[in-house]
Symmetry: C3
Subunit: 258 residues, 3 copies
């Protein structure tokens, strides 16, 4: 199958030439492919952040997209590279758990053969994005069969995903991501609403207490909570930066008492 585009998610940043070179190599293998950036500003080596953002991106893309994720603390070691095929798309990533969120889908799992007779020997031990990932994405995008490059596998690394802890009259979650507006995103998802329905409750984070869940940013007075576009509970300050204002950082606890 030929793919129409490669969607890129990396921690390479935009200061260096890393992202540009990866695109150059993909184009060398398939000069007609389109390449779209999801983001290249994942915090360095932060697999959890990469996984959260990819999970909340891929369903919004059209079919026949290859999602190339390069957040790879193990670059240059013996860690494997995996290729996952679901109904309509392909995912390429280091085997470090970053694709764990696909485990509930109907997928086929593959492991890239390294060394690989279709990919030149890596020129470096530090930039497999250029030397291995980009050639793999380029070849697969233009229709090279997966089984030529990979062997099937049935086990990939899983990531430990943090979930809120439930008590009798409360739930304790934590802040897992702070976006560029300073919104503080927790691991508490929309299903919590069933438990809060028709009850009084309070949300406590650091020294702030919030008594309702707002519908949108304008519905918030100074500090509020709402379900964001990931369907996760988020602490926000309208037209302001909640993280800076309330001194919230990743890992901080958030407790709902009802």
């Amino acid at each position: 199958m030929r793919y129409k585009r490669v969607a890129l998610l990396t921690d390479f940043g935009l200061k260096d030439n890393f992202v540009g070179v990866v695109k150059g190599v993909i184009l060398k293998y398939n000069p007609k492919i389109h390449i779209i950036d999801i983001t290249n500003n994942i915090s360095p080596q932060n697999i959890i952040e990469a996984s959260l953002l990819l999970k909340n991106s891929y369903k919004h893309f059209p079919n026949k997209t290859i999602f190339l994720t390069i957040v790879d603390p193990g670059v240059g070691t013996e860690r494997d590279i995996i290729v996952i095929k679901n109904k309509s798309n392909l995912f390429i990533a280091p085997d470090n758990g970053v694709l764990s969120f696909l485990q509930d889908e109907d997928t086929k799992l593959y492991r890239l053969t390294i060394p690989n007779r279709f990919i030149p020997r890596p020129e470096s031990a530090t930039f497999h994005g250029r030397d291995i990932f980009a050639p793999t994405a380029g070849l697969l995008s233009k229709g090279t069969r997966i089984t030529k490059l990979c062997i099937p596998t049935n086990k990939i690394k899983k990531m430990k995903i943090s979930v809120p802890v439930k008590h009798k009259n409360s739930i304790t979650g934590k802040i897992i991501y702070i976006d560029s507006f300073g919104n503080c995103i927790s691991n508490i998802d929309r299903r919590i609403l069933d438990q809060l329905f028709n009850k009084k409750f309070s949300i406590k984070i650091n020294k702030s207490v919030i008594k309702k869940i707002s519908l949108n940013y304008q519905d918030i007075n100074k500090i509020g909570a709402l379900f964001n576009s990931f369907n996760l509970l988020e602490i926000a300050v309208p037209n302001g930066n909640a993280s800076r204002k309330l001194k919230i950082k990743e890992g901080d606890l958030i407790k709902i008492t009802f």
Copy 2:
């Protein structure tokens, strides 16, 4: 009419997956469209900055471009979304004044119907970029008629644009934008030159006084003023950062006495 590309101007930043997801959704509606970033680093919710940069960008693009502007402090509220058609291009934005600069052109104005039978019900109240703007841009780009999605209107929100104040022997303007080189851009445009012609004058900003208008950066000794590529008077320090060096910030006054 089919459009060839979407040019994107947002305050989403490049840290998160917001820009990538908006592109994904546009491609879902029109897999062949090209998407170009004007910038995604507008200061959060800064409509004035967005308007200034779009005004100074769109004429440099070819015909058949859709300019999609998403700087939207009112997201999730009842604010409207407008579509403006000029001779050769289309503009989509929240109805918050960001497109005011088009008022002198021959245009047709439309208001997006919300809810809209061609666009799925929004999944979120915080990310209309993904849920409403991107589908609208995708549909219009592939030739869906505007009147299918929108109703004509004849009134859109206008932005109060700051203009210099003229006195008998002086003009007081202000700094409206600081670019990434630290150049400080005022709201005084090139027509001031007629008044300065053949006169002695001095430009005062904070504690600095400048006695001439330079032709280019190399023509400046330490601190200078010139008309920049927006045709606006700009304070610059060659090979340096004027904003940091002279402690100039947005809103600071600049006075020309002659």
Copy 3:
């Protein structure tokens, strides 16, 4: 010859609309061209950095690419603009030495005629990226013959490239670039290995001493040295930022004693 894509390397940053406008103008001249960013975050006016990153990028792109480099401290002055053709690609840049690394290749050198009858008179003295470079790239990309826009030349500005100094029992190089991970890249290249082979040696930078060259980041204990993807000796802290941790900055000396 028609080119397939323009690869862009500038110091324009991503806050303003400069990169977007350059792309718009290129597309105005050639609406079908693809434009790829190598990076637009070169440190302002840093020709050395631009040259290093372009040198380590262009070979990874496919044939028929135009490399447009706009890092141009002399904008608005009499400095020339050069076009260099090698076997398969084209390079456009100010004549400030940024393309010096091509001197060992079989190339043809040209100088853009300014003013040029195919390019409108510049609207500004500060944004030749928009007014001159983009039209040049657009025209050449769609097949306008170089000799219509340029005259042949045989001399271009050369950059003084810093090389390590060799002594009897030591070599002194310096840090020439710090990447976004904080890795500190020196001007000492892989050929040094021949001299170190089978010898004891020590690498000294600031107060740190390193006794071996590692194969990859995981092979490093706390602070290490390895040859990076540019084939240059790099000081790195695995999963950390070497520049911040060891207080290394561009220009710092690095000494290998053996």
